[in-house]
Amino acid sequence: MERTDKREPLLIALTALSGVMVLVALYLALLGAPDANLQSETGRYAQRIIYFHIATAWVGFLAFFVTFVAGIGFLRTQNRAWDIVALSSAEIGTVFMLGVLVSGSIWARPAWGVWWVWDERLTISLIQFLIYVGYLMLRSSVEDPSRRARFAAVYGVVAFISVPINFIAIRMWRTQHPLMFGTEEGGLGPNMMFAFFFSLITFTVWYVTLMWHRIRLERLRDDLEALKQELVG
């Protein structure tokens, strides 16, 4: 319990920092970045979602990589700390992956005229999201904590290996058909690049902050559980 207290101010500072960064990124994305070279006004507005959309996708996949690494760490050491990292990252990743799907759909509607196409990136994002959901369902379906951690780690590893193979397969599957729509970025200008990378960094900081909060929460839960056991005897 004491161990979290010492770093509390740092966590508060980080939380505040990511809050400010998200606001700045929001300003850059909505107002700061120049208009895209697009004909329709709706298109120009819609294009601005890209700054958050890609940053969200980046965190979504990064979080799964962290879950994979933490899974290997757990299998090697059987240390609960790794399991907490894997769980936290998977939960955050699920939310971000959902964000990718939703923001992508919002953008696709004005840009392509449809909410969804079975394009390679959309499909892999959806599969990634479903893998996350499966991971969390697996966790909630195992009661014994050590078994839960082992199963989750194994699934995290197996599923992570499948992601690149999935990507290759979906890419090959799609190239069989003519590409329905062009790629979205016709090259970002220098000012757009700044907003883009700023969003990327912001979301990464945000991810770290959320991870910290989530890991802290899980540790507090463990401590509470230990205290309960002590009281009951």
Binding site: V154, Y155, V158, I161, I168
Partner: protein, 225 residues
């Protein structure tokens, strides 16, 4: 007893159990036929129409995958229910031998069901499925599917949700197998050359090699207490 003999002993045990009960084969076979029937209703398939050619590879692999999931579920739930899993684990064999034994028996059961399904499918839809290349695709796809399915089934059999959970964990991971198998099957039906479907076969081979290796490394964590 060599490692291979141990694996074969587990496969033999499963074959004997299946010969005596026949519950797995009948369930898988009947279910595959039902999937085809449902597909027929859903897409209003007419014999030898263009539509059949477009839908047939997908329908075939959905039938294989779904009946495969039935078989995979039974593979470990059966052991668990009868308290045999503990016995298997107590046997003086490396745990990975259990994985490979279970994987091989699942592959065997799936292949037998598929061998029965191909003529049925040919009759129902009027597409000729007797092709050596197709046989290769079916074997490779089944191996890949069962390889990853076996380790996931070993896990889900020990969870609360059990049978419900396996397809949810398995299908996103096994999606490349289904994509490649469906595409390769479609290629054969469309009369493409071997070279044109080679990349799909490569993908199937890669999957069938990578996942047994990954399962080999992690299976111990799934069964140990």
């Amino acid at each position: 007893m060599s490692y291979l003999r141990k694996i074969l002993a587990i496969v033999w045990k499963d074959i004997v159990a299946e010969l005596r009960t026949k519950e797995m084969f009948s369930a898988m076979f009947v279910f595959s036929i039902l999937v085809i029937v449902i597909f027929n209703f859903a897409f209003d398939l007419r014999v030898s129409g263009e539509r059949v050619r477009a839908v047939a590879p997908g329908a075939l692999w959905v039938a294989f995958a779904f009946s495969g999931i039935l078989g995979l579920n039974r593979a470990f739930v059966m052991e668990k229910d009868r308290g045999c899993l503990e016995g298997l684990l107590l046997a003086p064999v490396d745990h990975t031998a259990i994985y490979f034994g279970k994987m091989l028996s699942t592959i065997l059961f799936m292949l037998i069901v598929e061998a029965f399904m191909l003529p049925v499918f040919t009759a129902f839809f009027g597409v000729n499925l007797f092709d050596l290349r197709l046989l290769l695709i079916v074997v490779l796809g089944t191996v890949g599917f069962a390889a990853v399915g076996t380790i996931l089934s070993a896990m889900t059999a020990q969870t609360r949700a059990r049978e419900v959970l396996l397809p949810i964990l398995l299908l996103p991971v096994a999606a490349p197998v289904l994509i490649a198998a469906v595409k390769a099957t479609a290629g054969v039906l469309d009369g493409l050359t071997m070279a044109e479907i080679a990349r799909w076969l490569q993908l199937l081979v890669a999957f069938a090699v990578i996942f047994p290796a990954a399962a080999f490394m992690t299976f111990d964590f799934v069964v140990k207490e």
